[in-house]
Amino acid sequence: MRFTRTSKALGMVAIAALALTGCGAGGGSNDGASQSAGDPNKVITAYNSEPQNPLLPANTNETNGGRVVELLFEGLRAYDPDGKPVNALAESIESPDAQNWTIKLKQGQKFTNGEAITAKTFVDTWNFAANSKNLQNNGFFFESIDGYADVSAVTTEKSADGKTTTTPAPTAETMSGLKATDDSTLTVKLVQPEADWSLRLGYSAFYPLPSAALADPKAFGENPVGNGPYKFEKTGAWVHDQSISLVKNADYSGPRAAKNGGVTFKFYTDPSPAYTDIQADNLDITDVLPSNATKTFATDFPDRNASKAVATNGTLNIPGYNVNFQGEAGKLRRQALSHAINREEITKVVFNGTRTPAKGFAPPVIDGFKENIPGSEVLKFDAAKAKDLWAQAEKIQPYDNSKPLQIASNTDGGHKEWIDAVANGFKNNLGIQAEIQPFAKFAEVLNLRKSQSLPGLTRAGWQGDYPSLYNFLGPVWATGASSNYEKYSNPEFDKLLQEGLAAKSTTEANDKFNKAQEILFTDLPGLPLWDYAKPIVWSNNVVKAETGWNGGVLYYNITAK
């Protein structure tokens, strides 16, 4: 999922990241001694901002709602803190051919209102989420299922002035590939074989919903009823612009049992006051630090901070329509730019180690990650080589230096500092003028990217939806993919991705995906910059906290003192 670091008042605007918390069996790395010291009935307070949508899993695709939704619901699978999927509601998930899947459910699972969770619950929920007329933001997560095209169909009308309007026009109410053969058996037929399909089932879009939610989604989203480790404290526990109060779900029997009495999310529009509140023990945990605190959080919170590598990376994209970066000269220049970025120094000085230099187009925490992919040496800082490559390109086609090379970014998420540093690197090592092209609103950058009218480079980033190598390549670099705004296209790359998807085993699939990365390293449609770690800090009121594979806090695992 594409993301922008949220902060300031932009909270809800500039987000596309839904943080998943992992779901380890019993909570992984916490040591038992300190756990027992805690009070299991105390409520902890946590940083959040006002969720953008009613709290429906299939509709929540931003961090603020995501933090809450994943505590209220439980899916077929869940991810342990390292990103490994484990079965939650599912007893078993099997497929002989990666196309026809059979999912057996655990018996006796219930929502907190007493409604039983059966195979039919999933069929109804997924058909609801995929149906275009229900307008669910996460509808496309079901695109692999046979029959998705029918329930998600739309018609597009073109008005007299050339504007197009898309309206929902489903031709079926149910996906033909999705069936409940009995109360505890769900069969799914995919459009084509997909080896990593079952990896997705822990993502929040796949969570089950009670029948009330399908009848009136909006009202349900204000006071959701789920099956997760927590539930709403009471009707109206969501006080808009202020807080959401959750309490432990005593009936929950899954792997993410709450080790505290509840979680109260306090809303902030800026991460800085939350940081200060934790200093004053006024708030218990935040997973969003102000950008100027990367150097101080370890000293401000000795023994009360953690920083773990997560499935998120940052890139600097080079639009193909920029004449300075086309043809053979352009290729040399893209390499020169990459060699002119001192990733080592920037991650150390600007990020104080909360990011690590990129080694590929996907971060190392992802299963199947491979180091030293052929072509990845372009990520090494080498001023002499950069200069040399640039000079070679000059001989082929002179660089248009009339305007500084601009790097587009919204300025509200702590991006300015590293972009200034990268621009200074270009200036010092290549002798060209470079500067940030600042925008107040993330939406403006997105708009210009979509309309292919950015004059220079642009910042980009990706936070994994689910822990798979494909998720870092397909949606971003495949021809016509939803987040491939710079419209990079290489048929060979696409072919390798398809082969990987259809592979019978994950190992075989990952080999194909890593092969595909070699093509990206040759073409360099974007320069991998760094992979993220997620620093968090907590107050004196809690024993310990940790994050899951993608940086989401494992709230259920926190014990209050």
């Binding site: 950008s291 100027n292 605190a293 150097k295 101080t296 001192n342 120094e345 920037i346 000085v349 600007v350 500084p404 919204n410 300025t411 300015k416 500092e417 200034d420 540093a421 621009a423 200074n424 690197g425 200036k427 010092n428 003028q433 500067e435 940030i436 600042p438 925008f439 107040a440 609103k441």
Partner: protein, 314 residues
Amino acid sequence: MTSNYTHFVAPVDETPLLATDTLKADQAPLSLWSDAWRKLRRRPLFILSALLILALTLVALFPGLFSSVAPNDGCELSNSEGGPAAGHPFGFTFQGCDIYSRVVHGTQASLSVGVLSVLCVLIVGVTIGAIAGYYGGWVDAVLARLGDIFFALPLILGALIITQLPAFRENKSVWTVVLVISMLAWPQMARITRGAVIEVRNADFVTAARSLGVSKFGALVRHVLPNALAPIIVLATLELGVFIVAEATLSFLGVGLPQSIMSWGNDIAGAQASIRTNPQIMLYPAAALSITVLSFIMLGDAVRDALDPKSRQR
């Protein structure tokens, strides 16, 4: 405190005639302004502030004379937040740029933004405010309500819109910043002027001037306005500083000056990255800003005193 009575009843230093009070029969009477100028140039406060402003102007026009280091080149991240070193008396910014040369080179843009915005605000605000307050009635109603409309416009919204206009989108400069600031700041100046003019317009000396045959507009320009200057000058001198800082806010939002134009505002906003680790980085551009505001405040005080007939001798 009673001992001060004498001072208020008849200040000793006001009694004797001074050289300036002698009338030369062969000379045309001095205008208000040339009279003020004669008084002004003898005042130490004025001389000091004028010298400071002259120095600032010199730095703004010829930054190369004061700093041999080119400010935007050779920023090495390895020097990030470094302390003072040989050739770099103030140390380095977060990006490892030389603070001293950035402050020197930032003078031009900052001074331009401050002075030009204040001038625009003065021209528009004082004109509209004076006319509204002096003529009253429907003129006042229309002009004052016009001000209300602009008052309610949020700064960021105005700034975002203006910088989206095709003419400005690719040409962010000192002028766009001046335009944004002036557009949103003139109503305040207009209201202060209006209030001061309303206060003065009924004064005896205005009535006297009118009965001596001075036109209504003439009385406004020659008698009302000069006596309403005190709050205008105070507002203008403070706004100079506030506008220079406002530029920082606009730049921070991405709608101010481009990165390639150096300014104190840009540097102050940039120092936010270091506020938890090295807050002193911000002090240098802030100090330059303070000196500028101080010199204009002193200048304003001196000018006001020179123009004010009541506090002539002080």
